[in-house]
Amino acid sequence: MTAWTKMRAADIPESVVRKALDMGADDVICTAAAGETKQIRFANNSVTASKSYSSTGFGIYLAKDKRILSTDVTLPAEIDRALDELLKRIKMMEPNEDYAGLPSGKPKYRKQAADPAVAPLVEELYDHVNAAIASALEAGASRIAGVLYSGTHTLNRATSGGAIGTYSASSLELSVRAMSDSESSGHMVQSATGPKSFEPERVGRVAGELAIESRNPEMGKEGKFDVVFSPMIFANILNHVGGSCSAGAVDAGMSFLGDMVGKKVASGGFTFYDDATDPALFGSVPFDEEGVPTGRTCLIEKGILKGYLHNTSTAKRYSTESTGNAGLVFPRAWTVHLEPGSKDRDKLISQVDRGYYMTNTWYTRFQNHLTGDFSTIPRDAIFRIEKGRLAGPVKDIRISESMLSILKNVKSIGNDPMLVHWWEVEDPVVTPHVLVADVNITRSTQ
């Protein structure tokens, strides 16, 4: 037994920081995390797998003479050896000349606690799955697939700058894809923090209705079209915009927003910010990897790029303050939001003389992250728009565009924001429907 094994897990980070400083480290962050996630997968109207992932551990980040090294251990008994190794190996690292240390001070954090109703759920999860499948079938779809997650985790973090923070979080997430035949499908998702706001019937019904509405699609046409994007597909695009707002991505040449602060990067009605401070919203966190409180950071205001997402080191290089977006290595977006407009979906569609309404996408891939040239493949229900109304469903088209063109051609923004987080949207995004003009559509030549 070591001293660590007698200690509460929540108290370990602060003690690890103290010990590492005593051993000669300049800066230290220690994070204790533990949680359990359950997953139920279903396909062809039947549950295909039920899983439970249990994890616990301690992450230790250490800097000495601007050399940075990190490791993870599972058990408290492994901490002493990990600290010895960190201090031994760090001498072999070369200095990170961009490193500017950790922030000092003992910030106060917003309280965030998991919904206690989530952790005990087991049998009830199958009721949710059953409800989602039943409502999609009732809407007329024939084959339903998807996944349901429930999870709770706690995190305790201490830094040598003086930050000590703790929070817990819970989640209930559902993704439903409904098929009505081999060529028509609809997809809907929801991410909640607890059962009160969880709506499996609605998610299943919307997916089922889209599957029915998209039956018997024709081949889509290539060319330039006005496109109304649903939140599911526009969230995928905004996920990449959020990633490109990281100062780390800019520095690595992985952003199309480099050297554009103060410049017009989107249409005048486009205001975009990062905000993970609402504890009722899935994905919120009170502090970042350096212990800096998270906040609301405006990234694009009325089409003008206002700045990037920063940790302490990138902030110093850009002569600004950390935005509370430190990730494990680079600054990261937590939850990006597109400020809603005033029109509903049908009003956006009514503005289009000849175009498409798209409800989901898949495999967004870049030709060049720095220029933002990319293509993505709309999937599930896609519809032609003719003279302001939805016409027949289509298939087999691809968006071949640049990110800046999409942002600059945003013509109208809907009033129906929705949080999207699923397989193709890795970080939560809140966006309404959006109308974009002159979107380039291509398709297979043979």
Partner: protein
């Protein structure tokens, strides 16, 4: 940190026994431990290094037609019992929503232990040597072309596994893997180009000869720069094409390997990785020309996708997915081979860690070599494009419409490779692609890649590959 992982095999076997005692009809335990090391350079600056050991175990049970899976990173009897109870409880609870009872194919029992020998163990390499190797490669790249940004990551792991099942299979393995990934951004005048370059193998540190790796990567950077700077517009109209092994490999992976995964075909992946335009009834039908043969082979020595037994304890073997243009075989695990009445799995079940379910995956997927020399492939092409490598690519979730944009590409005029061509676009359907092949080169080459699939996503190491191939009568796609 330990320089080798010793797994408590008895604990894994006990987990299987516990599950059977609790009523499971089938149970397996997979215990894994990995010694990992990584380093990230950004613009030549050592951002951060990391190291650690990552160990844990999963149990998977079948009960009343339902499947339960539970994992933990705490390897003691008390926690393992808790996990087995959870897997059993969830399998039971799920059975009321299981319309098609989940079953596994009957398989031979195996007892085996294998390891890839390392001339220099990855776990023994000091951080100073890792930094020195990466910095050497980074400097060489900077000296090759006007590179304005670069991101470079080296990852190494030595993964020890033990698999035990209620079928009495007991399989241990030790596989070291090392990979380097870099994205240099080249700027010349007002033009930018990026190359996403990955190299990876299953072997020890002997692979990381800085001079050799630098030479390979610098060649790619130099060619990307030349293509961006000197490339002419791609021709329009119907032309012939020659594709290099890198492009052939991604096409084999994306438009043959993925659509032949039986869990896509059966709809199990419909909400995540998607389904497939290939249906079970298409087995034995023509999808391409006689020249097209595609193989997935996990047993290639030192390949990035190497294994000898899959993560369900099934012995690995090569799978011929397309044989002379005919759909010949799908990729299976024990669940899909049972549901499709295949008799036995062909060993395609893989998981990327102990806390992930083993699902149907590729390993090393490639177009089989033919009998043409590279020169013979060019003969008879009056006007064409040679696409040697690619940058942007994607394919729809049924694997029917695919697109590859050339990074290094050239005009072919009267049987000879002439000027560089800038960003030609190959955008066509899968049957059109495999049907257009009329000749295949002799020399097989591979590229390392990380294949994504599953939920939660499981990036898994694979090779993609092939020889040069020739496509006839292609209309190039249009850009943005």
């Amino acid at each position: 940190m330990p320089d080798e992982i010793i797994l408590d095999r008895d604990l894994a076997i006990q987990a299987v026994d516990m599950a059977l005692d609790m009523g499971a009809e089938y149970a397996e335990a997979r215990m894994e431990g990995a010694i990992t090391n990584g380093l990230l350079l950004k613009n030549g600056n050592p951002e951060i290094a990391g190291f650690g050991t990552n160990s844990g175990m999963c149990v998977r049970v079948l009960m009343h037609g339902g499947m339960g899976f539970a994992s933990t990173d705490i390897l003691n009897k008390e926690k393992v019992r808790d996990r087995v109870e959870t897997a059993v409880r969830m399998a039971k609870a799920s059975s009321r929503l299981v319309k098609d009872r989940i079953a596994l194919s009957d398989e031979p029992t195996h007892t085996a232990d294998y390891a890839i020998p390392q001339k220099r163990k990855l776990a023994d390499v000091g951080l100073d040597e890792i930094v020195s190797a990466l910095v050497h490669i980074d400097k060489a790249i900077v000296e090759t072309a006007p590179v304005v940004n670069r991101y470079m990551h080296l990852s190494m792991e030595e993964r020890t596994k033990f698999f035990a099942s209620s079928d009495d299979s007991r399989i241990g393995s030790v596989i070291p893997r090392i990979a380097i990934f870099t994205i240099p951004t080249i700027k010349d005048g007002d033009r930018f180009a990026q190359a996403m370059l990955q190299r990876g193998v299953s072997m020890g540190w002997e692979y990381m000869d800085p001079a050799k790796r630098a030479e390979e990567l610098c060649h790619e950077v130099a060619m990307t720069h030349r293509n961006m700077k000197e490339g002419v517009k791609a021709p329009s109209g119907r032309i012939d094409m020659v594709l290099g092994p890198e492009v052939v490999g991604i096409a084999a992976h994306e438009s043959c390997g993925h659509p032949y995964e039986a869990d896509r075909i059966s709809g199990r992946e419909a909400a995540q990785a998607g389904e497939s335009f290939v249906k079970a009834g298409m087995m034995g039908t023509r999808i391409g020309s006689d020249a097209a043969t595609v193989i997935d082979d996990p047993t290639l020595e030192n390949s990035y996708g190497f294994y000898l037994y899959d993560d369900e304890g099934v012995k690995a073997r090569p799978k011929v997915l397309i044989k002379n243009g005919i759909i010949n075989e799908f990729l299976h695990n024990r669940e899909t081979s049972a549901s499709m009445d295949m008799g036995a799995s062909n060993g395609g079940a893989r998981a990327n860690n102990y806390d992930r379910e083993a699902i149907v995956r590729m390993s090393n997927t490639f177009v089989a070599p033919g009998d043409h020399s590279d020169g013979e492939l060019l003969e008879g092409i009056k006007l064409g494009v040679y696409m040697k490598s690619f940058m942007e690519w994607n394919i729809d979730d049924k694997r029917y419409n695919q697109r590859y944009i050339g990074r290094e590409a050239y005009l072919i005029e009267n049987g000879r490779v002439t000027a560089p061509v800038r960003a030609p676009i190959l955008e066509l359907t899968t049957p059109a692609f495999w049907s257009a092949i009329d000749a295949v080169g002799k020399k097989l080459e591979f590229a390392a890649a990380t294949c994504g699939k599953g939920e939660p996503s499981q990036g898994i190491p694979v090779y993609t590959g092939g020889p040069h191939i020739r496509l006839r009568g292609i209309t190039l796609g249009v850009g943005k």
